[in-house]
């Protein structure tokens, strides 16, 4: 066959080729030529001419370094704190009772922790400033991860250097574009950042409303049954907080676990506040409800609140957690936590294990204050009675958030004058997903004794009464 082949014949064939064939070839050649001759877009080279540069510079008006702020704005009148904000705090040179910082177990003033940190500092220095996967890991990190995993009864824990970035790195490590997140409307700002970074679809359900969550999951299930191919490739997550920072109440975990089984979703619980607070030995919301930690797919916690260290952790099954060592952006690209902080956190955990009484003391203090503050006229206390975070807001203030905030600020100032440090809960209102009610965020500590509690109650009660009276006078 090949022997029959001559180039001459081919040219003969070309000359007698059918017209449709030649037309197609001509069209293709012209099309390709046009494609080649049109200007190529060069992906990485955008050069600006001198004129364009000048135009851009002329267009640009710099924002003021300090925006226009009313003179009574709280950032212009900072409270200067000296020393450790422990059971008492020194504000503007005056030592008063501290109920403003999230120092639930008063670990800040724990001597053993301090000594452990100093010893570790002498051994390791201040740390390598390298990420964990890049010369940043020392044995203290591994010991703390082991210790956390053992303490919570999980397979593995992974450490982050900053509490806020723990959950905001963990969510986008699992939830990707196209996935669906069912999120409680009351979640804190860190979770909202994680949700935004995940690029997933978000469905907010009403705060602590299990029926609303079921409704949304049912809607999703209906959509999924219409598009089974799509449903096969999307993941569904339910994201809640154990103890809500912005509300002070506890998530209905037993119902959530039942829902998780019914609708086949993954359950993430953020335990920044509940870790070291809820449960008979401080293991968090799972221990509080007597639910196995294995029922929750991912637990994130902070070492910054109850443990008085710095950083955060995620824990759960090794299969789930290990993924973060290459996909958790905060883990991969942030410098590891200073080893002395890790050593301090280890000691702090040991202290929790050795003194289980502090948890009952914390619950007792929280309950007592909740009951007493609720009975102050004109005041509402949000949250669970056993929660050490309480949101005190004013009744009969209507929708006027600004006025309520102003009155709360006055109460805080009055309480400070009388010897108790409180704080108004501060939010980035323009960036929060849902509006939040103005409140005083009261933090209870296990180290408060009965005289301290009585003092705190009396001061809060007096401050509320005097501000209410002043407010009434102003109206008249």
């Amino acid at each position: 066959m090949a022997g029959d082949w001559y180039l001459y014949e081919v040219f003969q064939a070309f000359l007698s080729a059918p017209a449709y064939h030649l037309l197609l070839e001509a069209f293709l050649v012209l099309w390709i030529l046009r494609l080649i001759l049109t200007k190529s877009y060069k992906p990485h080279k955008t050069r600006l001419g001198a004129k364009e540069k000048e135009e851009l510079i002329a267009e640009w008006t710099p924002e003021p370094l300090v925006p226009d702020t009313p003179s009574d704005h709280y950032t212009l009148h900072p409270r200067v704190v000296d020393g450790k904000p422990g059971k008492t705090v020194t504000i503007n040179g005056k030592k008063i009772l501290n109920m403003g910082t999230l120092n639930f177990l008063n670990m800040i003033e724990n001597k053993a922790m301090e000594e452990a940190a100093i010893t570790s500092l002498k051994t390791y220095g201040v740390g390598s400033c390298g990420p964990r996967g890049f010369y940043g890991t020392v044995d203290a990190h591994l010991q703390l991860e082991d210790k956390l995993a053992k303490f919570l009864g999980v397979e593995e824990a992974v450490l982050y250097s900053f509490g806020f970035s723990t959950i905001s790195s963990a969510i986008p490590a699992y939830a990707k574009r196209g996935d669906v997140l069912f999120v409680d409307a009351g979640v804190s700002f860190a979770i909202q950042q994680g949700i935004a970074a995940s690029r997933s679809h978000v469905r907010y359900f009403k705060h602590n409303d299990v029926d609303d969550l079921k409704r949304l999951l049912q809607l999703q299930a209906d959509t999924d049954s219409k598009h089974p191919k799509r449903a096969r490739v999307i993941r569904k997550f339910v994201i809640v907080e154990g103890l809500y920072l912005n509300y002070g109440d506890i998530c209905p975990l037993p119902e959530l676990v039942a829902i998780k089984q019914e609708y086949c979703v993954r359950l993430f619980v953020e335990e920044s506040l509940s870790f070291g607070v809820l449960g008979a030995s401080g293991k968090g919301v799972t221990e509080h409800f007597g639910i196995s930690v294995d029922e929750v797919d991912l637990i994130c916690g902070s070492l910054e609140n109850a443990l008085a260290a710095i950083g955060g952790f995620c824990c759960g099954k090794s299969y789930v957690i290990d993924h973060q060592r290459l996909s958790g952006l905060g883990y991969c690209f942030s410098a590891s936590m200073p080893p002395m902080i890790a050593s301090a956190a280890i000691t702090s955990l040991e202290q929790l294990e050795n003194n289980p009484d502090i948890f009952s003391a914390l619950v007792r203090n929280s309950r007592w204050l909740h009951e007493k503050i609720s009975s102050i006229p004109g005041v509402e206390v949000g949250g669970d009675p056993i929660s050490p975070v309480k949101h005190i807001s004013l009744k009969d203030c209507g929708e006027n958030g600004e006025q309520e905030t102003r009155m709360l600020e006055e109460i805080v100032q009055e309480a400070e004058n009388q010897g108790v440090a409180l704080t108004v809960a501060r939010y980035l209102h323009n960036e929060e997903a849902h509006p939040l009610r103005p409140s005083i965020r009261l933090a209870v500590s296990s180290s408060l004794t009965q005289p301290d509690l009585t003092l705190a109650l009396r001061v809060i009660s007096n401050a509320c009464a005097s501000v209410h009276r002043r407010d009434l006078d102003a109206v008249e």
Binding site: A2, F14, A17, H21, I32, T38, S40, R177, R199
Partner: protein
């Protein structure tokens, strides 16, 4: 077109001139191997070269989706074919032009060496259609009849 903060290693290698040369060499070597079979006519070999090339590029560039690398795009490329990921979805880049021109060149050569035979023409032009249509900017992200959508 979107901002490309980080390189997608799944497609960035296609921009190198070495990869272009390698692509042409692969076609040439494959063609020479087919020519070495004595029982195949030159016309059959050219049609085979063209069809195999089109089947392979259609599979690799237009049906396989996602990337084996972890990129910072939060799973955007999970639903994109290899072709759609090239230059982060930017159209009319030189890489796209090159990879569009090569199948047309192979088709014209195949037409020439098959003496403009009708049967060969039918096979070659049909397979060409499968690799040219998905490369058009108008078909970027389009999944006809929802095939291979998720």
């Amino acid at each position: 077109m979107q901002a490309a903060g980080l390189v997608n290693p799944n497609t960035s290698w296609l921009n190198s001139r070495g990869a272009w040369l390698f692509y042409i060499l692969i076609i040439t070597v494959g063609h020479l191997i087919l020519l070495s079979f004595p029982f195949l006519s030159v016309a059959a070999v050219w049609t085979l070269t063209n069809t195999i090339h089109n089947i392979v590029t259609f599979t690799v560039l237009h049906t396989l989706k996602g990337t084996p690398w972890m990129t910072a795009d939060q799973g955007k490329s999970r639903l994109q074919t290899h072709w759609e990921q090239i230059d982060c979805g930017t159209q009319f880049t030189s890489t796209r032009k090159f990879f569009t021109a090569v199948p047309v060149a192979v088709f014209i050569l195949a037409s020439f060496y098959t003496k403009y035979d009708t049967v060969h023409f039918f096979v070659n032009s049909l397979s060409l259609l499968f690799v040219l249509l998905p490369k058009l900017p108008q078909f970027h992200g389009v999944r006809l009849f929802g095939i291979n959508k998720y």
